[in-house]
């Protein structure tokens, strides 16, 4: 059966509506959301209410966590001080705009959702703030899936959709200085695992302007990346009218941005 996985909605209502429409047109009713309902965008309450109304299973994203717990992400999440200031401003703006009810909703979202062999998280099983980029060290990537006892790990947070298959792996180890003459050796085969990044509905960073998400077929194990057009102008106008930094509108329109991409993918926030 086909199921849809969406992530990083970032308070962009026209994008969320367009993606949900696209999912509906395919007859898919099973939807999982990987968080970041808010942040950057101008319609945080509207997006949360839509997700609630549709009863979409959702995990907590980095923005959802920070809006509730206060800014805890270390500064290294931002490549420059200007980007950091903009991020903090958006955080402040979102915190003020959110209703108490919607803040409570974000506060009570789970860190992860497990369905059979699939684990759904925002960043990684370690942290909502860890980036699993497509070129991350393959063994480290496999460790994330294995340690989480999953076969397929669905994540978001990087805003770049991808499907990564890690296969035909093996590691050989040797115990040196074991006190006995025969040195113990062992070799083990590593299991095949997959990481699926759902991209971003409301804040794409894959080079294009379209909203992205993925469709997973749990019978054939097939995963497809979907790109969906939405009314970008509408969101851009709302960003400007809300008094949010105009660069947030600029980068949606130009579909290319590095402003808030983590520079060090292997970095894990020590919180």
């Amino acid at each position: 059966m086909n199921q849809a996985v969406i992530s990083c909605l970032h308070a962009n209502l026209p994008a969320v509506e367009a993606v949900l429409k696209d999912i509906e047109l395919q007859g898919i009713t099973n939807i999982t959301c990987l968080g970041d309902l808010v942040g950057y965008g101008p319609q945080p309450n509207e997006v949360i209410e839509l997700i609630k109304e549709k009863k979409i299973a959702t995990c907590q994203g980095c923005w959802d966590e920070d809006v509730v717990d206060g800014l805890d992400a270390c500064d290294c999440s931002y490549p420059s001080q200007i980007a950091e200031r903009r991020g903090h401003f958006a955080h402040q703006w979102t915190t003020e705009k959110l209703t108490k009810e919607n803040k409570d909703f974000l506060a009570n979202l789970p860190y992860s959702i497990r369905k059979d062999k699939c684990l759904f998280v925002h960043g990684s099983p370690n942290s909502q703030h860890e980036y699993l980029l497509p070129d991350m060290d393959a063994f480290a990537a496999l460790e994330r899936v294995e340690n989480a006892k999953a076969e397929i790990l669905f994540c978001g947070h990087t805003h770049q959709p991808y499907i990564r298959e890690l296969a035909n792996g093996s590691i050989a180890v040797k115990v040196k200085n074991s006190g006995s003459k025969d040195i113990q050796k062992k070799e083990m085969n590593l299991p095949m695992r997959r990481i699926v990044n759902a991209g971003s509905v409301g804040e794409p960073r894959h080079g294009g302007t379209k909203a992205t998400y993925v469709v997973y077929n749990d019978i054939t194990n097939d995963v497809k990346i979907r790109e969906v057009e939405y009314d970008i102008e509408l969101t851009c106008k709302a960003i400007i009218n809300a008094g949010l930094p105009p660069i947030f509108a600029w980068r949606l329109k130009n579909g290319f941005e590095f402003a808030e991409r983590a520079e060090d993918a292997s970095h894990v926030c020590e919180r």
């Binding site: 393959a138 063994f139 480290a140 298959e165 035909n168 006190g179 050796k185």
Partner: protein, 240 residues
Amino acid sequence: MIERWALISGLKGDLDTYELIQKDLKKTPGNITLFVLGDMIGPEKNCNKLLHRLINPKSNDLQPWCIYGWWEEQILLESGYRGNQRAEALRINKGEEVVKSLINAVDKSFLDWIAALQFGFVELDCGLIHGSSKDVGDDLTLDTPPLTLLDRLTRLQVNRLFTARSTQQFHLELTEGILNSEVHDLTGNHKKEQKVPQKAVIGVGAGKNYTLYDVGTDNTQFVRAGYQSEKKKNGFGLHF
């Protein structure tokens, strides 16, 4: 002259053992650097004398280079050095009595020194840490899945990781490894084959059991303080 590291941990306030190790090291040939990988303190003994000695080495002592360990982290937590968090894991696992004993074992005047200790050292291509780069309580042993060991090495970007948390002594080499990665994104398919470069994780032991590391030859020697002569007879370090 041969460059050697002496790696000790888990003294938990035991000044006698520390003195025994200092005595051993004076007889050990080479240019020795002494690293103390945490757990200088613990709840069992009063730790003030040992801490005083580590901070103010005697004139003929090897200078100790210290980092903090799991027990140091517990006392810092409990003493309010980590914001609102307290040593809850310790409290749940070992009970209130142990938390109290730990607090009583260390004079408050040492807390600032403990709080200023580093999490780990990176020397050459080696990481020296109490647990791992993931967590000070990360318990790495011979039985830890190699994938996890590799992850801890990768996080620190080192080829050798010296760890103490498990209290075990071992030298595990990751000799070979391969993994195929295929990424499909909106630009197409990208295949890559990744290999494991030679890396190792070394458990340094605790208390009287410590490790000598020969930087030039990458050889480890597992030693028990005060048993130097026995070690020579065997031609091997003692293994536990």
